[in-house]
Amino acid sequence: MNISIPGAGQGDADRAGSGGQASYGRIKPEGVDTSHGAILYLDGITVSFDGFKALNELTLDIGVGELRCIIGPNGAGKTTMMDVITGKTRPTAGTAYFGQNIDLTQLNEAQIAHAGIGRKFQRPTVFEDHTVFENLELAMKADKRVRPTLFARLDSAQSDRIAETLALIRLGGEVWRPAGLLSHGQKQWLEIGMLLMQEPQLLLLDEPVAGMTDAETERTGELLNDLRGRHSLVVVEHDMDFVAQIADGGKVTVLHEGSVLAEGTMAQVQADPRVIEVYLGR
């Protein structure tokens, strides 16, 4: 069956792979070989659309447990890079590896999602008629075929995991509210929580604070800081204050015209004359 919808279709992989709650369903994500300390390698990735190079020899690696911010002006190739990592777009040239051993250019979106890469899109999509609790329950890593789902019963370990995630995304007070009644910011957090319930190794977040109030932006920053170390995170963002808040001495990558323009701490990047010219200085 063709998976034609972007980012859709962890389905097939999960159907094929995730057996019992703790049995072979977990083998694949844990099969990511990160012995060299990196979770993602992109090497010489080029994507050209009718001659226009959206990505031009992009080379980038993300360490295990790292929180990497990626900034760049419009058209720098940020979203195309996410598309390549999640299998939505195939690179014209170059290699993309998840850990040492998983070649992302050979897998479809479903297999990549199942391998342990979660992606959050810009617009929050949660199940509005379901409560916050039910949203997390549905997202939870489990056997997601029809029959096991029909007879699924929540055990206490699973409840604990939901409670844990609730605390992390700070929606403990909203457990029984329908998600449709949450504020925009809360929906974004809930969606991040849903991604976490899937137990991904690498989380890709596309503009997680778009449309948020200042207070919400700050809380999102704290949330991402909480996740630092537990998951590897790639955050694509426009909001420079937010990037400064979460970068926290970590690496920031500046993309420009499809390749890496500069890389370093926020302070180094902000001081780079080329960066100032193409992006920050404007």
Partner: protein, 383 residues
Amino acid sequence: MNRTLNATLGAPPAAALPALARRPLFSPRAWLALAAACALLALLPLLNLAFAPGHALHVSSYAVALLGKFMCYALAALALDLVWGYAGILSLGHGLFFALGGYAHGMYLMRAIGRDGVYQSDLPDFMVFLNWKEYPWYWAFTEHFWYAALLVVLVPGVLAFVFGYFAFRSRIKGVYFSIITQALTFAAMLLFFRNDTGFGGNNGFTDFKRILGFPITAPGTRAALYWLTLAALGGFLVLARAVTQSKLGRVLTAVRDAENRVRFLGYEPLGFKLFVWTLSAVMCGVAGALYVPQVGIINPGEMSPENSIEMVIWVATGGRGTLVGPIIGAGAVNGLKTWFTSVFPEFWLYALGLIFVLVTLFLPQGIVGLARRLYARFAEGGR
């Protein structure tokens, strides 16, 4: 459900979560109401049998037969609510599954007539009329009740499964899906209207004499059929509730609200839709099978698009996505229809249209939604 959870639990701290692992199917009060309604309905045929006509407690045979028929409609409405209310799949062709269940049972009833037909042949009258000498192959074994009962489940079930597989796999949704179901039932109606199809053409099946050896028009048989229908309705209501309360039920509503997100979470919507769609078709087939011996006829008119659309109106009137609502809606609309068609027969379709418009405008949640609103207001006022 969410509302009751909120009411009973307030906003419990995260530590209270494990208590929710098992939720009761219905609240104790709902169980009580359900049992009371069943007991009351079950009592009516008894009053019909026990008291002579003219006695103050006598319930007319007409009323019992009418309610038996309404309960079949209610079961069909319940089936439709399962797919429309919960999975967001609007079928405008559920009359087809209802009719197929009816025809499957009708084949047995036709053979049970034996040589008591007008032509006193082993074949049904319509086959004699067509000058057929023997039963077509697809009538094989239909003299056995158990086989016909199997067909009642299998024919609508397999058709729904195959049709649903291709439709859902091609990601046909919304109004396109509705139109295709409508076309399907219309095509089937044209097929069944043909005499050569072997199902009695436009007259269908009628003049049944007996079922499992019992005379079909005897008050005792009628009462038994009535109770069977009641049991089926109650049983399927509990089953439907169990399905919608399960995690699978929550996946279905998630598919209804944001199908792509469901895919992204790792569920394949095809299997889930197919499950509920097939279950719904089987329930509808059973409703049709119970309907035929009680009304004494099945003909291709049951497959007409209007019938399927009426089912949608029952569900909408009672309250979509509530399970109990469609049962109430089927009773209310058909009760009104019975009265209306005896007083102003030619205006019924206008009245039906008006009901649909009014419900859509003023009662988007149907009768059940209205009751909930009134109850909430009452509870607030009493505080």
